[in-house]
């Protein structure tokens, strides 16, 4: 029954993760927990006509005739279809999931979005190049900008007003995120998963946020450091990765190829490096001297010796004018 297969389109992976995007990771992990037959399509392996990126943001789920995008909608859809491991939970546990999902969306998501999409260093060096490369042409020009604009709206619009400015919002948002991570850590406690031995959508959700922060090479991230300081959250993340989302053979192959490329590039760079700088300086000097030479030869610039007597003609300009001020 091919109808049962869930087609999931996600952002491509990096840094030992099958996908770098928090929502994609969450949905994918939840499908894996639930043992649902899932066919995953990575964003960089599609073209602009096949990809859902033109209309929606990833993740996008296609099941039979239904198409859903965005994490909340996908999870609701699965719940309504009676799919997914959450159906085994008690009503009280489901209530807790609603509450903690609200907590995460309200307190953790804004800082997460800011960290990846608004903080200039991270956005320019990591996020935008990655998402651009992971999008099929020509969407790679539009999609990162589109996501950034939506992220900024999401962070600032509900929080700024006459009294509170952008910087204060940023400080507030990071503070709340750290508190949220603490709450999640307290709730998880010593357990393997939030509701005992079996994972739930809440585990998937938390995994989606925590995994990229743990695995991406972020130089100076307060969020990442805070996550690393909550060992039970890191433990949850690794547990899920190892058991449900191990690296597929293709992913491993890709990773090896990429590492090889980077090493080669470094070697080539270092060979040229001492000469590279010297070459650049020589080229600049050459260009400058040829421009100056041309200017002199063609008469654009000339050295003229002036006798002081030539300046008499200027005195009239300042002397006779009356009332030079503007009276509008």
């Amino acid at each position: 029954m091919t109808d049962d297969v869930l087609n999931l389109e996600v952002w491509k992976g990096n840094w030992d993760l099958p996908s770098v995007d928090n929502e994609c990771l969450a949905v994918w992990a939840y499908c894996k927990f639930s043992g649902l037959p899932t066919k995953v399509q990575k964003s960089h392996q599609t073209n602009v006509f096949q990809s859902s990126l033109a209309k929606h943001n990833l993740p996008v789920l296609q099941h039979g005739s239904a198409t859903e995008s965005q994490l909340g909608n996908i999870l609701s859809y699965l719940k309504n279809q009676g799919l997914g491991v959450d159906k085994n939970l008690s009503s009280k546990e489901l209530a807790d999931i609603s509450a903690f999902s609200a907590l995460i969306e309200e307190k953790l998501l804004p800082a997460y979005l800011h960290h990846w999409w608004v903080d200039t260093d991270t956005y320019v060096e990591i996020t935008r190049p990655f998402y651009a490369k992971a999008s099929p042409f020509p969407l790679n020009y539009f999609v990162p900008g589109r996501i950034q604009r939506a992220a900024k709206q999401h962070i600032y619009a509900p929080r700024t007003n006459d009294v509170i400015n952008d910087e204060e919002v940023e400080m507030l948002v990071y503070k709340e995120a750290k508190e949220c991570l603490n709450h999640l850590s307290y709730r998880l406690g010593e357990n393997d998963f939030f509701f005992g031995d079996q994972p739930s959508s809440l585990d998937a959700l938390v995994f989606g946020y925590v995994a990229p922060l743990l695995k991406a090479p972020l130089p100076n991230s307060q969020l990442a450091n805070h996550v690393k300081g909550c060992p039970n959250l890191s433990g949850l993340c690794n547990r899920i990765l190892n058991k449900y989302l191990p690296m597929s053979p293709e992913d491993l192959e890709e990773k090896r190829k990429r590492e090889l490329e980077e090493m080669e590039k470094k070697q080539v760079d270092s060979l040229e490096f001492p000469n590279k700088r010297r070459n650049m300086i020589l080229a600049a000097l050459f260009a400058l001297s040829s421009m100056i030479g041309y200017a002199f030869i063609s008469g654009l610039v000339g050295v003229v010796i002036v006798d002081e007597g030539d300046y008499d003609g200027f005195s009239g300009v300042f002397g006779d004018d009356e009332g030079g001020g503007d009276d509008d």
């Binding site: 006459d162 009294v163 009332g323 001020g325 503007d326 009276d327 509008d328």
Partner: protein, 468 residues
């Protein structure tokens, strides 16, 4: 007074010579020529270069020239007409050429007065740093587009936009039109949005308003009658604003009529040497909106020149604010403030009067007086030129800002106002800026002040367009 052409005839009175054959004055050095005796008939007044300016206003302005009966009158009247055209801002340039009347209809002693004018095709656009654009004594960068004589009868439209170096800027549109070709009678309308901060009271205000005004002269002086409707949003400036000020945050809608009578017989506004000024203002707020009060202000100045080019100046100002509805308090954005390097010197800007947590609260009544002595700079550097923009300045200023207490009698209130006053004296240098502003650097010694005032002893400098 007009432009100097290299080729066209010059227009100054002294250098013009009517073209007629007559005894030349080259041979007789004692030849005196009285232009009053030369009979003149102005056959025609021609105006050349008119495009959109309407005929009726030109006729009204130029008609007096036709009545000239002698040469002196003709020159005077044609110059007066030119000045009137300039006041109406109808043209970019106005040049007069007086010529003998030619042709078969020319009468004996006939002259033709020609006006060569250039109309403005495009509005004037400028960007500059301006003082007092949207609030007195504050400088902003202003982009202004002005279109004088927009419809042909001297109507002037101005659009401006200013951005104080922070978030909100202000913008405004003004329309003004002389009535019946008389530049002294004007009707106008304004729409504006402004943003002002009041750091002495720690609040900020966004105002959006519209005003209609009518200006006209009478024997007493020039009058201005204005109706203004303005919506003001007042908020605390920052976290440290005192609660007494923060309590007044909110929206007010003021609809008021104001009458100003001004009689200015001084020879200059910034550094007058003689003459006097009387200015009376009355404002009634309460025709709609949620603000009600009656305000009366007076400003007087008298200048007397002394020996050695010194001037002694006495100035006096005062105002009183009265409630209309006893239950409705008057808000801080309508109250009076006092103090500053150009008014009651020796105190910080608006630093006199009741305060709460360091924020000035303003009050219902004030008086301010100053006795000034202006002399040219010692040793007169730059005499006749640059140095004329400066003056040495010796002064004594006194004033009071306080609330009218309804529980006391008028006599007791008066006693209060006159006993608990502030006094300061000092000396300094005044510099004239442009045509409307002044810079002062003074050394001030405040002698009498009340607890709560923000005294600023010693060196003080100030720049602004409103000063006393």
């Amino acid at each position: 007074m007009g432009t100097v052409h290299a080729k066209a005839p010059e227009t100054t009175m002294e250098s013009h010579r009517p073209e007629f054959e007559g005894p030349s004055n080259d041979t007789d050095p004692n030849f005196k020529f009285d232009i009053r005796t030369v009979p003149v008939k102005v056959d025609r007044v021609v105006i050349d270069g008119v495009g959109k300016t309407k005929n009726d206003i030109l006729e009204k302005t130029l008609k007096p020239v036709l009545s000239a009966s002698n040469f002196k009158e003709m020159v005077e009247k044609s110059t007066e007409a030119k000045i009137l055209l300039e006041k109406l801002e109808l043209f970019k340039k106005v040049d007069i050429l007086i010529d003998t009347s030619k042709g078969k209809n020319a009468s004996a002693n006939g002259y033709e007065v020609q006006y060569h004018v250039e109309e403005r095709k495009y509005p004037i656009l400028n960007v500059k740093m301006e003082l007092g654009a949207h609030s007195a004594n504050e400088s902003d960068v202003v982009v202004r587009m002005k279109y004088p004589n927009m419809f042909g009868r001297g109507e002037s439209c101005t659009l401006d936009y200013s951005r104080v170096f922070k978030d909100d800027g202000g913008y405004g549109f003004q329309f003004s039109k002389p009535i019946n070709g008389d530049p002294d009678i004007r009707i106008g309308a304004t729409i504006y949005k402004g943003y002002t901060e009041f750091p002495w009271s720690s609040f900020k205000e966004i105002s959006r308003g519209t005003a209609l005004h009518l200006m006209f002269p009478t024997k007493l002086g020039s009058h201005c009658l204005k109706w203004e409707g303005v919506w003001r949003e007042m908020r605390a400036l920052n976290r440290n604003t005192s609660f007494a000020v923060r309590e007044q945050a909110g929206h007010t809608l003021k609809s008021s009529i104001q009458h100003v009578l001004m009689r200015d017989k001084r020879d200059d506004k910034i550094l007058p040497t003689k003459g006097y000024l009387v200015k009376l203002t009355q404002e009634y707020a309460g025709l709609g909106g949620n603000v009600e009060f009656v305000k009366n202000d007076v400003e007087l100045q008298y200048n007397l020149p002394l020996v050695f080019d010194s001037i002694i100046q006495l100035s006096l100002a005062g105002g009183i604010l009265t409630k209309v509805d006893q239950n409705k308090d008057i808000k801080i954005n309508d109250r009076y403030f006092l103090g500053g390097p150009l008014t009651l010197r020796g105190f910080t800007v608006n630093g006199v009067g009741p305060h709460s947590d360091g924020n000035a609260l303003g009050a219902d009544a004030y008086w301010l007086s100053g006795l000034h002595l202006y002399t040219p700079l010692p040793f007169r550097p730059g005499k006749g030129g640059f140095g004329e923009m400066f003056r040495s300045h010796f002064f004594v200023t006194a004033g009071h800002l306080g609330n009218v207490n309804l529980n006391e009698t008028a006599k007791e209130n008066f006693k209060n106002l006159t006993e608990t006053f502030r006094l300061s004296y000092g000396l300094g240098v005044v510099l004239r800026l442009g045509g409307i502003a002044r810079l002062e650097i003074n050394y001030v010694i405040p002698v009498r002040y009340q607890i709560g005032d923000n005294v600023d002893k010693g060196f003080q400098y100030g720049i602004g367009i409103s000063f006393l």
